[in-house]
Symmetry: C2
Subunit: 433 residues, 2 copies
């Protein structure tokens, strides 16, 4: 007996009909998506750009219906925090941003068919590695309804079908947006099954979504640690994890203090609730006192949680805990630690980093090189704010997430990361000796 059978047995014991029903529905949705995707895979970039323009027009035209659906979701969602409610809420401006994002994606250079590398062998065979769509992309996400249109535009533009599984709180909003997407598909003569929305929003439904096996080519979960843990232990689909951002700035001995203050302020305060904001500041002991005095003035709204040496200078700081170092505050809170060397800073980062983005502020060429080489993170920055780690900011185009895993995609994931490659080998009758 396979363990897979064990898992399913357990699930069906608990909730036989929900899981089985969700699985059957999702399986047919995925199969239809795969058939439809073949058409898109060989379509022209012009048609895919036209599809995105058609989506932009449809969302604009349907904005009242989308807002009305969103109101139903907001009315039905009683136990949300203010931040969660904010993420769920749509308004004219936010719909405008959704439309603008779709149009922006359609202006990116097409990646389908791109020749990644190519060479000719001694026997005359011509070899090329070319980009092709992944196939059926699954996205499992939480409250933000704009993910529905953003992720769909990225997936479709790169030639993929997409299966969406949002939260139960956002179901009406997502259904309304998906209705617009399907109208747009019809407009350009493409099958509506290129976009599928999972409407069974229970936990069993989520697990069925993750366990579609080969019917889904990749699953991108966007959500909190609990979702990620479930995906890690349950998914039978290959996944790309969009993980936490427990990011650090280390200010080295001899660093330019005004540069340090500007970068720390930008990386902590500009938008504290995002993954590329910093959570912990590491300071070399030799400059701790002057830097902390400057930071106290520059960051009046930030709560400092410091180690003993930090608190000697920074009266405002409360005592930091082990747990603070390990957390992503997503708030105006900054953990601070004074270290005696670059090695100590790198060790701290190694212990607590989530592998998202790590920065050093230094004037030392050697220390910059060592930090770049020894810190194991998707992005490593020297004398720049971690807030730049974003597909748009880095000139890589809109992103479907920021991968903190090592396989397939690491860092911002845009349309190129929604493709795989195929090797084309052309000859005139060559055989192997």
């Amino acid at each position: 007996m396979t363990q897979d059978a064990t898992v399913q047995e357990k699930i069906t014991e608990e909730s036989r009909s929900v899981y089985a029903h969700a699985r059957d529905g999702l399986m047919s949705m995925a199969e239809e998506a795969k058939v439809a995707q073949r058409l898109l895979a060989t379509s022209s970039g012009a048609l895919r750009a036209q599809l995105l323009e058609s989506i932009a027009i449809a969302i604009e035209a349907d904005r009242r219906a989308i807002l009305a659906a969103n109101q139903i979701d907001l009315d039905g969602a009683s136990d949300l925090t203010a931040a969660q409610r904010d993420r769920l809420t749509l308004d004219e401006a936010r719909i405008g941003s959704m439309v603008a994002s779709v149009r922006e994606i359609s202006r990116q250079r097409d990646v389908v068919g791109e020749v990644v590398e190519g060479w000719v062998l001694a026997n005359g065979l011509r070899v090329r590695r070319v980009r092709v769509p992944l196939g059926v992309v699954g996205v499992i996400y939480e409250n933000r309804p704009n993910v529905t249109s953003d992720a769909s535009a990225l997936a479709l533009y790169s030639g993929n079908a997409i299966l969406l599984r949002g939260s139960s709180q956002a179901l009406h909003s997502n259904q309304a947006i998906v209705a617009s997407l399907k109208r747009a598909l019809v407009k350009v003569g493409l099958p509506t099954s290129l976009v599928g929305l999972a409407t069974e929003t229970s936990r069993d439904g989520a697990i069925a979504f993750m366990r579609l096996g080969e019917a889904m080519d990749v699953l991108i979960p966007r959500g909190g640690p609990e979702l990620i843990a479930t995906v890690r232990s349950q998914a039978t689909v290959p996944t790309i994890i969009d993980g936490d951002g427990n990011c650090h700035v280390y200010v080295d001995e001899g660093a330019d203090l005004s540069m340090a203050v500007a970068i720390i302020e930008n990386a902590k305060v500009q938008r504290p609730g995002v993954c590329n904001a910093i959570e912990t500041l590491l300071i070399h002991a030799s400059i701790a006192e002057p830097l902390l005095r400057l930071l106290e003035k520059a960051l009046p709204a930030v709560e400092f949680r410091g180690d003993e040496r930090t608190r000697q200078t920074c009266q405002r700081a409360v005592a930091v805990t082990e747990d603070d170092y390990a957390r992503e505050f997503l708030d105006l809170i900054l953990a601070v630690r004074v270290v005696d060397s670059l090695d100590e800073a790198i060790d701290h980062i190694r212990q607590y980093s989530s592998g998202h983005s790590e920065a050093i502020i230094t004037e030392s060429f050697g220390h910059a090189q060592r930090f770049e080489r020894e810190v194991d993170a998707a992005s490593v920055l020297v004398n720049a704010s971690t807030r730049f780690v974003d597909g748009g900011q880095l000139g890589m185009g809109a992103e479907i997430g920021i991968s903190t895993q090592k396989l397939h995609a690491r860092g911002p994931m845009g349309i190129a990361q929604l493709t795989t490659t195929k090797i084309l080998i052309e000859g005139e009758g060559q055989i192997r000796c």
Copy 2:
């Protein structure tokens, strides 16, 4: 309660001590490997080449001990088929090949640190994507003891630690080879924990190996369908599947028949037991008769299994079944089907292909283009033998496997596929507006 807990609960009920013991042992092995790997990640290419030379010397020096250990394995393995016994057997010549492979890998250009792409942003930030090792690579495989040295050389040369889990039948051979690898590591001053061999070779041990979570960065299973299915349903480590090769050749209307015969003969007969050999031949109806007459003469040792139209011409052919089309014979058997169009050939391939390698023989530019575009496989060939789909043959260096999945690596996996990338961003104080 997570499903992970459910799985473990089930396992521990069945075999608490085996699973728990294996898991604890593997977890410490993986943790030690990760610590040691940090050293290798920042080592010079020269040191890694020196390590491989040291491995070659150690295996050569220890060949008697390795052969003696192999003899113990052979004596202990009673219920093996001839082919399985052959795969398990080592002799002087095979040890010579193992040594030669290690040396060949050490002559490849180093990939660690390679700048994959790079650009400068309008704000002056300099962005580079550079190759870095994946970290801890796991390989789970069956009888061939040469995989132990091949996979280790590829992983170590690309800066990774490696955890190996071979079959119980090959345990003594693998232990002897790993002892040589560890002696070589000591010789060049590197920690022996860079190579780990799992000695708990039960099924529970295998499952514990697959469920190491974040302690292992990638798992490459090399084995039959049962192993792959277990990995798909059990693994919590990201995997790269080295899948089956159910490969096809389609001979198009108007194809050069002598070219077709040469390629079919090469792709079927040269080495029928490997994944890049063909299993099914598709022939356009217009040339079926002359081609089959030529093939009957050219392939005297091959058993033909044909559809009705094939059997009209080819008296020797037995009736083909649905199951034959779906199988990888790995033998001198060829399924044959006569089709009426390129579309029918592509449909057949879509239905039965394992996504490894697919070839067309054609004189039509348009048909070649369509076949390349519409066939969804890791490698697509025009007028060339599928036997070229091999890292060495394609000039991509020695391979750790041939991926039939779409994520991270597709097609032959060499040292470049054992790396990930890291984005380096350098500035002089830039902050985000």
